[in-house]
């Protein structure tokens, strides 16, 4: 102890003791984000496809979905799924509640990214593809979507990075991931500074690794035409 009776003495061994659990939490954060992103890519792509359907209603419904989920807090969406839906008879576990809220939220952003990507491909591409004898579906599958994916890739990557950080919110309903583990350890051993500091370092490592990986993937897999 230094500096009087109220001074805090750092105990970095608390980090060493907590580290296995924190790493497990970080692995869960990665897993949850990955699963949520895969599902959100599917939902987002479906919504974007729906927004291209002729007729007024489908595009408007997609736009409404996107605006509602993008303009309300994720935390409230999580609370509606976990605390609100049981009132209507739908009771989900913390894991399923957290995951579905993350998927619905990320899907709204993905849908908008895909839609913009699809619309950024020049119309002539579709017409040219059709005139070579491809069917509509083939033209979409082999000509339009590959270009739209390349255009969308950086924004989708940013959304994934946001998802990793946003997944910390599901700790509030008791879904176990990095933030939950950090709360759990520090509320037990009161080493708040060290444990939250260690959790911050783990998030930084995750996010920086992910951004580097995405940049590499963008350069390697999707070279500019």
């Amino acid at each position: 102890m230094t500096g009087g009776p109220t001074a805090y003495s750092f105990d970095w061994s608390a980090v060493a003791r907590g580290l296995p659990y924190l790493l497990e939490g970080a692995a869960l954060t990665v897993l949850i984000s990955a699963v949520a992103m895969v599902l959100a890519l599917g939902v987002g792509l479906g919504l974007a496809a729906l927004s291209q359907v002729p007729g007024r209603l489908p595009p408007r419904m997609v736009a409404a979905y996107v605006e509602v989920f993008r303009n309300t807090p994720l935390l409230i969406q999580i609370f509606i799924v976990y605390f609100g839906l049981p009132q209507l008879g739908l009771k989900l576990s913390p894991f399923l509640s957290g995951l579905s809220a993350l998927v619905l939220y990320a899907a709204a952003y993905n849908a908008e990214i895909f839609r913009a990507g699809l619309e950024a491909v020049p119309k002539g591409q579709f017409e040219a593809a059709r005139s070579t004898g491809l069917t509509e579906l083939q033209a979409l599958r082999y000509v339009i979507v590959p270009q739209a994916v390349r255009i969308s890739f950086p924004a989708l990557g940013n959304n994934l990075v946001s998802l990793v950080k946003n997944s910390s919110l599901v700790s509030t309903i008791g879904m176990v991931e990095l933030m939950f583990v950090a709360n759990d350890i520090s509320f037990n051993n009161f080493r708040t500074f060290e444990i939250y500091g260690a959790a911050a370092v783990l998030y930084i490592v995750l996010v920086l690794a992910l951004t580097r990986l995405l940049r590499l993937a963008e350069e390697r897999l999707l070279p500019a035409p």
């Binding site: 605006e67 509602v68 309300t72 807090p73 935390l75 009132q87 950080k165 920086l208």
Partner: protein
């Protein structure tokens, strides 16, 4: 669904909304001021300073806002820095706002063609004057859409302050639900109030963005 509960509890939720707007306003002022300074520091002639700022921004941006709030509220007391809930939340969010705003400022300035710098310098303006009179006024127009987008995210993220007990809209909703046990209706109304604030901001950002691309 119980609509009388909604009507009865609405005044309390609106009190929470006032607090939410106050928090967001405070953060916009503090965070933006700091963010503009951080963003401009990326263009100083001293590379070491530029590098330090770039790293600080990248590291802070990688940490979830919830963790920033917990670190400041629960972690800093370890250093004998005890900050009450409200200023702790405002401080954490301002830090978040500052680093993100700095990226908007940097992006806006970088989007101005180099020729503008060179032309301005060749007319005899100093580096500082060039930034002040030529580059920054043009860059500001391009910063507005992403900046308003950032403000929308901020309004949504003020809900995180409820987790450490700050009274704002989400906290008001939680307190109301503890009394009425009508979580579905109350959270739905809460979401609607957030939407009423955020949607106009989103629309404004979209319009400003569209205006940029018009000749």
């Amino acid at each position: 669904m119980n609509l009388t509960v909604v009507v009865e509890t609405l005044p309390y939720l609106l009190r929470g909304t006032v607090s939410t707007v106050a928090i967001a306003a405070a953060v916009v002022v503090l965070g933006t001021a700091a963010g503009v300074v951080l963003g401009l520091l990326r263009f100083v002639p001293w590379t070491w300073l530029e590098t330090v700022v770039a790293w600080v921004v990248e590291l802070v941006r990688a940490v979830p806002l919830l963790l920033l709030i917990f670190f400041i509220f629960f972690g800093l007391p370890a250093l004998n820095i005890r900050i009450p809930t409200f200023p702790a939340a405002v401080l954490a969010m301002s830090l978040w706002m500052a680093v993100n705003t700095s990226e908007v400022v940097r992006g806006g300035i970088k989007s101005i063609p180099r020729g503008q710098f060179e032309a301005a310098r060749s007319t005899g303006l100093t580096g500082l004057q060039t930034m002040r009179y030529v580059i920054f006024p043009q860059a500001v127009r391009r910063m507005i859409p992403p900046f308003v987008g950032l403000c929308t995210i901020l309004v949504k993220d003020t809900s995180l302050a409820a987790i450490i007990g700050v009274f704002e809209l989400t906290r008001a909703a939680q307190e109301t639900i503890e009394r009425t046990l009508r979580s579905f209706e109350i959270y739905l109304v809460t979401a609607a109030i957030y939407f009423a604030i955020c949607f106009p901001l989103t629309r404004f950002a979209q319009k400003a963005e569209a205006r940029l691309h018009r000749p």
